[in-house]
C-alpha cells in the first residue's frame, strides 16, 4: 500500500495544474478524502482493540441473564458448601479441647457420647458439601453449555450478516478459532471459573472472620501479608494479560500459515518451496515458543514467591502460637491458648490459603477468558456496512434493467478503482466485460451484487438505487457463476439446490440436464447422492463448473453474473459449458467477464474496461470497426496468439 496522503496530494496537484480529467477534479478535496480513509482505518482498528477487562466481564455476565434461576440455585449451593466447610476446624477444636482430655478430667460416658456426635457431624458436613457440590457442578455445566451454544450461534449468524470486506481483512483461521476454541474457553469459565472465584472470595472472608474470632492477635499476623499478595496478583494478572494477547496473536499467525499453505500444497510442491515453507512455519513457531517462554518465565517465578509468603505465615503462626499453647498447659489453662484453638487456627489458615491460591490461578483464567471474550465481542460488535434500509423496497420479480450513473468506487477510500462509469443495460441483454486485469471488471459486478456500496454516483436495478432495495430479496434474484466454483460438503443434489431449497427432484434433474451435468452425475456410483466438497468425491474443474451452472439455472436469477466461467477448462468441456451457458443466459440480463474474447460471441454488447473507466462499448462488429480501438487491438492480439498456438 502506498502513502494515501501522498496520493491524495498528488491528485490535488494534478487538479490544480489541470492535468487531471475533469471527472476527477470535480468536487475533489484531498483533505477530506484522506480524512475519510484514515477514519475508516481508525474505526476498524478500534473494533479490534481489546476492550477494558471489566467491561468484558460485565458483558459475559450478561449472558447469564436468561438463566437467572439456574445461576441463583448454583450460587446458593456454592455458598452453602463454602459455609458448611467452615465447620470441620470447629469440630476439631471441640474434639481436642472438650473430648480428648487426659483421663480423669471429664466423665468418660459424656465423652464417648459426644465423640459419636462429633464424628456423625463431620460425616454429615462432608456428605452435604459433596451433595451441594454435585448440584452446583451439574447446574453450571449444563447452563454453561447453553450459553456457549448461544454465543456460537450469535457469532456465526452475526458473521453471516457482515459484509465481504470484513472477511477479506481477516484470516479464516482466526475466525474459526473464535467460534470454536474461544467460545469453549468461555464455557469453561462460565460453568466453573466464575463460581469458583466467587466461592473463593466468600471463603476468604469467612475464614478471615473465623480466624479473628478464634484469636485476633494471631489472625492479624496471618492477615498482614494479604494486601501484599493482592497487589502481587494484580500486577501479575496485568502482565500475564499482555503476554496472553501476544501469544494468541502468534498462534493466529501460525494457524494462518497452515490454513494458507495446506490448500496451496500443489503450488508449494510445483515450485519446490517446501524448504521455504518449513522456514516460514519455523519462524512463526519460534515466535510462539518465544512468547510462551516469556509467559512461563513470569508465572513460574510468581508462584513460588506466593507459596513462600504463605509458608512464612505458617512459620509465624507456629513460632507465635505454639509457645502460647505451652503456656496454657504450664499454667493449667489460666493463660495462653488452648491446643484445640491452635489446631483449629492452623486448619482455618490452610483454608485461607486455598482460596488465595485459587484466586491467583483465577487471574490467569480471567486473562485467558477476557482475551477470548474480547475476540468474540469484536466480531459481535462489528457493524455490517452493507445493510437494507428499514423501508427497503421489494421487487417481486426484477425485470433486469441495470443502470450505472457516474459510479465511482474505491476499496481503500482514496484510489478509485471505478471512475465515473455510466451505462444502461436493457433487460435480457448479455454484456461481455473485457479489458486488461485490474481494469475494474470484477469490481463492477461486485457493485451490481451490492457486495460494496458505491463511493459516488449510483447503481440502479429496474431504475431503483440498489441501496433502496431489500438486500437478501434482491440478491436472491442475482445468480453468480464463478471461475472457481465453490461446492459445499454435501451431496451433489444438495449443492444443486443451494439457494433454491424448494426445488423438486424433477427440477433439479432438468437443471442438471440443461447444464450438461446430468450424464456425468449419473455415471458416478452414488449419482446425485455423491458427496462432494472437502473430503468428498473429487470432480474435475469442468464438472464442478457445470454443477455450478446447473445451480444457477435452478436458482433462476433475473440478473446473471459469469466471472470467467469458462477460463479453466479444455476445449471439449468448454463446448459443453458453452452450451450450458447458452441455455442459462437466455432471457436474463447477463454480465460475463471473460479474457478469451471467443467466449463472448453471443454477447449483445461488449464493454471494454480500462483503468476503472468504461472506454468502449458496442457490438463485436462495431468495436472491431474502430481502427484504434482497444477492443480491436485486443482481438487482433488474441487472434494472432491463437494462430501461433494452432501452428
Amino acid at each position: 500500500m502506498g502513502n494515501l496522503q501522498f496520493i491524495a496530494e498528488q491528485t490535488k496537484k494534478r487538479i490544480v495544474d489541470k492535468s487531471a480529467p475533469a471527472a476527477i477534479a470535480e468536487g475533489f478535496d484531498p483533505g477530506a478524502e484522506y480524512r475519510d480513509a484514515m477514519l475508516k482505518l481508525v474505526k476498524d482498528a478500534k473494533a479490534s482493540l481489546a476492550m477494558p477487562k471489566m467491561g468484558v466481564m460485565l458483558r459475559l455476565l450478561g449472558y447469564l441473564k436468561p438463566h437467572k434461576r439456574q445461576v441463583a440455585a448454583a450460587l446458593v449451593f456454592s455458598v452453602l458448601m463454602t459455609v458448611i466447610l467452615m465447620l470441620p476446624p470447629q469440630l476439631m477444636r471441640i474434639l481436642v479441647d472438650s473430648i480428648l482430655k487426659p483421663v480423669g478430667t471429664t466423665p468418660m460416658a459424656l465423652s464417648a457420647k459426644w465423640l459419636v456426635v462429633i464424628i456423625v457431624s463431620l460425616a454429615a458436613v462432608y456428605g452435604f458439601s459433596e451433595l451441594f457440590s454435585f448440584f452446583r457442578l451439574r447446574i453450571m455445566a449444563f447452563t454453561g453449555e447453553k450459553i456457549a451454544r448461544a454465543m456460537r450461534d450469535d457469532l456465526y449468524s452475526h458473521m453471516q450478516k457482515l459484509s465481504l470486506s470484513f472477511f477479506s481483512n481477516r484470516t479464516t483461521g482466526s475466525l474459526i478459532t473464535r467460534v470454536t476454541s474461544d467460545s469453549d474457553r468461555l464455557w469453561d469459565f462460565i460453568a466453573f471459573g466464575m463460581i469458583d472465584m466467587l466461592m473463593a472470595v466468600i471463603q476468604l472472608m469467612g475464614v478471615a472472620v473465623a480466624l479473628l474470632i478464634q484469636e485476633w492477635s494471631l489472625a492479624l499476623l496471618v492477615l498482614i501479608p494479604v494486601p501484599i499478595m493482592v497487589a502481587m496478583f494484580y500486577g501479575h494478572s496485568r502482565r500475564i494479560h499482555m503476554l496472553f494477547l501476544r501469544i494468541w496473536r502468534k498462534w493466529a499467525a501460525l494457524s494462518g500459515v497452515l490454513s494458507d499453505v495446506i490448500p496451496g500444497m500443489r503450488v508449494v510442491k510445483a515450485f519446490a518451496q517446501e524448504d521455504h515453507e518449513v522456514q516460514r512455519f519455523h519462524r512463526k513457531n519460534e515466535d510462539i515458543e518465544h512468547e510462551a517462554i516469556a509467559l512461563h518465565r513470569v508465572w513460574t517465578a510468581f508462584w513460588p514467591a506466593v507459596v513462600v509468603m504463605m509458608h512464612t505465615c505458617t512459620i509465624i503462626v507456629w513460632a507465635v502460637g505454639a509457645p502460647r499453647v505451652m503456656r496454657y498447659f504450664a499454667t493449667n489453662g489460666a493463660e495462653g491458648m488452648p491446643l484445640g484453638i491452635f489446631i483449629a487456627f492452623t486448619g482455618y489458615m490452610w483454608m485461607f490459603f486455598g482460596p488465595v491460591q485459587q484466586l491467583g490461578m483465577m487471574s490467569r483464567t480471567i486473562n485467558r477468558v477476557t482475551t477470548s471474550a474480547s475476540r468474540v465481542f469484536e466480531i459481535l460488535d462489528t457493524v455490517p456496512t452493507i445493510v437494507s434500509k428499514p423501508d427497503a423496497l421489494h421487487i417481486e420479480r426484477i425485470e433486469g434493467r441495470v443502470d450505472f450513473d457516474s459510479v465511482a468506487f474505491s476499496y481503500d477510500g482514496v484510489r478509485n478503482v471505478l471512475k465515473g462509469v455510466t451505462f444502461a443495460v436493457k433487460p435480457g441483454e448479455m454484456i461481455g466485460l473485457v479489458g486488461p486485469s485490474g481494469g475494474g471488471k470484477t469490481t463492477l459486478v461486485n457493485l451490481i451484487c451490492r457486495f460494496y456500496d458505491v463511493k459516488d454516483g449510483s447503481v440502479r436495478i429496474d431504475g431503483i438505487d440498489v441501496r433502496d432495495l431489500d438486500l437478501p430479496h434482491m440478491r436472491r434474484q442475482i445468480g453468480v457463476v464463478l471461475q472457481e466454483p465453490y461446492l459445499f460438503h454435501g451431496t451433489i443434489a444438495e449443492n444443486l439446490s443451494y439457494g433454491s431449497h424448494n426445488a423438486s427432484i424433477k427440477q433439479t434433474i432438468e437443471a442438471a440436464k440443461a447444464a450438461n451435468a446430468h450424464e456425468f452425475i449419473c455415471g458416478l456410483p452414488d449419482g446425485y447422492e455423491t458427496i462432494v466438497g472437502e473430503r468428498g468425491q473429487t470432480l474435475s474443474g469442468g464438472e464442478r463448473q457445470r454443477i455450478s451452472i446447473a445451480r444457477a439455472i435452478l436458482h433462476d436469477p433475473r440478473i446473471l453474473i459469469l466471472d470467467e466461467a469458462t477460463s479453466s477448462v479444455d476445449t471439449e468441456t468448454e463446448k459443453k459449458i458453452q452450451e450450458a451457458l447458452h441455455r442459462l443466459v437466455a432471457g436474463r440480463t447477463t454480465f460475463a467477464i471473460a479474457h478469451r474474447l471467443s467466449t463472448l460471441a453471443s454477447a449483445t454488447r461488449l464493454f471494454v474496461m480500462e483503468e476503472g473507466k468504461l472506454i468502449e462499448s458496442g457490438t463485436h462488429a462495431e468495436l472491431l470497426a474502430k481502427p484504434d480501438g482497444v477492443y480491436a487491438k485486443l482481438h487482433k492480439t488474441q487472434a494472432e496468439l491463437h494462430a501461433a498456438i494452432a501452428v
Partner: protein, 158 residues
Amino acid sequence: MEKLEITRRADGRLVMKSPNDKGEIIDTPVQAVGCFPWGRFGEYISIRDDKGRELRLLEKLDDVDAASRSLIEEELALRNFVPRITAIESVTDELELFNWKVRTAAGPRTFLTNRNEHPRTMPGGALLIKDVCNDLYVIPKPEELDAASYRLLWVYLD
C-alpha cells in the same frame, strides 16, 4: 413417449429396442442406473448406453411393462449390491485405521476403514460404511441390531 422395451440378450446383457441413425429398430445394450441410489431406490432410473449417454430417464418404474420392469429391478439390485451387516463383533483401533469384524448376510467379514471416514447416514436412515478400498457395507436399520453391536456402533451414529 414411446414404449420402453427391455429384454435380456443371450449373453446376459440388457438391451433396449431403439432406432439407430438409419431409423431401423435395433437392440442397444443398456445399463440401468439409479440417479438417487440410496434415497430413492427404484425411482429416477437412467437407462444409458455403453458410452454413458442417457437414452431414457424413468421417473417411476410403474410406467414400464412388467417384464422390462423386473429386468431393470434385477439390474439395479445387482448394481447396488452391498453386503448387509447383521451384527458387529468388534471395532478396534489399529494405527490410523479402524478394523471392523462383522457378520453380514453373506457370512463373516473383516474390513478396515479410514479414521476420518465416518459412516454415512442415508436419507432412509440406513448407515453406509465405506472401507479403505471404497467397498461399501450397509446397515439398513441400525436400531434393529442386537444390543452389543449397537453399543459398538453408537459412537459413529449422528
